[in-house]
């Protein structure tokens, strides 16, 4: 019996056993309790103190607002909400560029099999790691995801989006894309570039309405190698933001995957799903704020099935002299550790820190 079947059996049994008590509840005769407001009798003195502190707070707030407004540039900033097309443009481009970059790096990356293990997850870590590299900036607290939409500083393009995020190690990173937008009656066409690790990536995209829902598709590639590219399709499905990725090599599709993003009160939850070697692979990825780690719950289904979780943190590798991902895989009582490549460029900020130290 597969894990999925076992779960369904338990669910069915609960459904059969659950009694219906609604007929025993006389809803109309239930009394809804009023929430007891804080019944503090405010004395005259208290009222005076309250008025005084409110005036002071208002004054401080006004000074703060004036200072902030005088320093802020005339740009539109917003947190991730999926309510603006610019967020979709940025996420589609950024994720595609990261995937494309890593496709090129696969031969030199820290591939698995360093640790002998019979776990099915072992063969999926290189794929997961490719996605993790662009998901790390996304799974942060949604208040740490900031989009700035402004007039382009690149003369070839009219628009610019800067996407800022806080990484697991607390470092802020920026990704910038420049583009031109052609708005037509039934669709919006996008052509632009994004720089990543000193290389330029081109993209073109189309935004259109299908059954009153906005759908976006984008292709990212390098001018020097247009036969290898990434295509991504975006749409909203059941309150989840769905991105479908196709990886092409020599104009042939070699891999397909789906990502579903859900914004929650607690943060960003990401599901990653794909099929490979007749196995269905599912990951649920989110951040644990207390320990600054990423939790990945996984399920692998085929004739055998495996379910476990992975705790991922960023560690400094003293041999490689750079930050890498540390994977702690938990399956039942077993625990295995791996290190994997992290291609996110947070070097710039380290330089800044050095500069600051020099200044001191």
């Amino acid at each position: 019996m597969k894990t999925k079947d076992l779960k369904n059996k338990i669910k069915e049994d609960i459904y059969l056993l659950t009694p219906d008590v609604i007929s025993k509840i006389d809803f109309n005769n239930l009394r809804i309790e009023e929430k007891e407001e804080e019944k503090q009798v405010v004395s005259r003195l208290n009222k005076f103190m309250l008025a005084l502190s409110s005036t002071l707070a208002l004054g401080i707030a006004l000074v703060f607002i004036v200072i902030n407004f005088s320093n802020s540039p005339s740009i539109q900033t917003r947190n991730l909400s999926f309510e603006a097309k610019e967020e979709i443009y940025s996420l589609s481009t950024f994720s595609s560029v990261m995937l494309l970059y890593q496709q090129k790096q696969l031969e030199t990356s820290l591939m698995s099999d360093e640790v002998e293990s019979e776990l099915l997850i072992n063969n999926q870590l290189d794929i997961l790691n490719q996605y993790l590299n662009f998901l790390e900036p996304l799974v942060t607290d949604k208040n740490n995801l900031l989009f700035e939409i402004k007039t382009s500083s690149n003369i070839n393009f009219k628009k610019e989006i800067k996407f800022t995020s806080i990484l697991l190690n607390g470092v802020a990173v920026d990704y910038v894309l420049y583009y031109n937008e052609e708005v037509n009656a039934d669709e919006t066409i996008l052509i632009g570039i994004m720089e990543f690790l000193n290389e330029e990536y081109s993209f073109n995209g189309v935004l259109k309405k299908v059954n009153e829902q906005e759908e976006f598709s984008l292709k990212a590639y390098q001018i020097s190698n247009q036969e290898n590219y990434i295509e991504v399709e975006y749409k909203v499905e059941n309150t989840k933001q769905k991105f479908n990725y196709s990886i092409y090599e020599n104009d042939e599709e070699i891999f397909e995957s789906e990502i579903r993003i859900e914004l929650d009160e607690d943060g960003v939850f990401i599901e990653l799903e794909y099929e490979t070697d007749e196995k269905e692979i599912n990951f649920l990825i989110y951040k644990e704020n207390q320990n600054n780690t990423i939790y990945v719950e996984y399920e692998i289904e085929n004739e055998e099935s495996e379910e476990g979780y992975i705790i991922i943190s960023v560690v400094y590798d003293n041999t490689l002299l750079r930050n890498v991902y540390n994977y702690q895989i938990h399956f039942g009582d077993s625990e295995i550790e791996y290190e994997k490549d992290r291609v996110i460029d947070d070097e710039e900020d380290e330089d800044e820190e050095e500069d600051e130290e020099e200044d001191d």
Partner: protein
């Protein structure tokens, strides 16, 4: 389900909103109850009490938090209150113990044979996850346990049940 909309409607005494929440949550509420209470009749009484309390206390729900987490915490607390009061009664009348045990056995809930291999804590986490597909992060909040502990218990439990299935075959 957009619980907030229904919560606001319940505050206006909208019975349909109450029914919508009831039908959406009854399985997971019952799962929580059965993971704590072994007596099927008492479980049913508590379930009724949960939904009555939910209506009576609806103004105390803080929309900053997830409604389902609030409802499950309310359920868990009601179950624990019942256990506590039952314990007090039993201490007062120990002579009834053996009679009580026989009576209990007949009424004991037997949800699923594979769940039998799990302890109470494992059963609770497995049911909340499977029945309502709650996130482990939310289960951790409701049960007041660290996320890592919940994930570890859940995975251990699934492995235990799968071993049971394998042995059976």
């Amino acid at each position: 389900m957009d619980y907030l909309k229904y919560v606001e409607a319940i505050k206006q005494k909208d019975e349909e909103a109450f029914e919508a929440i009831y039908y959406d949550t009854k399985y997971v509420v019952y799962s929580m109850i059965t993971s704590i209470i072994k007596d099927r009749f008492l479980a049913e009484d508590i379930m009724q009490e949960v939904y009555m309390k939910m209506v009576e206390k609806i103004n105390y729900y803080d929309p900053k938090y997830k409604f389902i987490n609030w409802l499950l915490t309310l359920t868990k607390n009601l179950c624990l209150d019942h256990l506590k009061s039952k314990k007090e009664v039993l201490v007062e009348s120990e002579a009834l113990d053996s009679y009580q045990e026989i009576k209990e056995e007949k009424k004991t809930l037997d949800i699923n044979k594979y769940l039998k291999v799990l302890n109470e804590e494992e059963k609770q986490i497995v049911l909340l996850k499977i029945v309502k597909d709650l996130k482990h992060k939310d289960i951790a909040l409701v049960l007041n346990k660290p996320l890592g502990t919940v994930l570890w218990i859940y995975n251990k439990a699934i492995k235990k049940m799968k071993k049971e299935v394998k042995d059976e075959n």
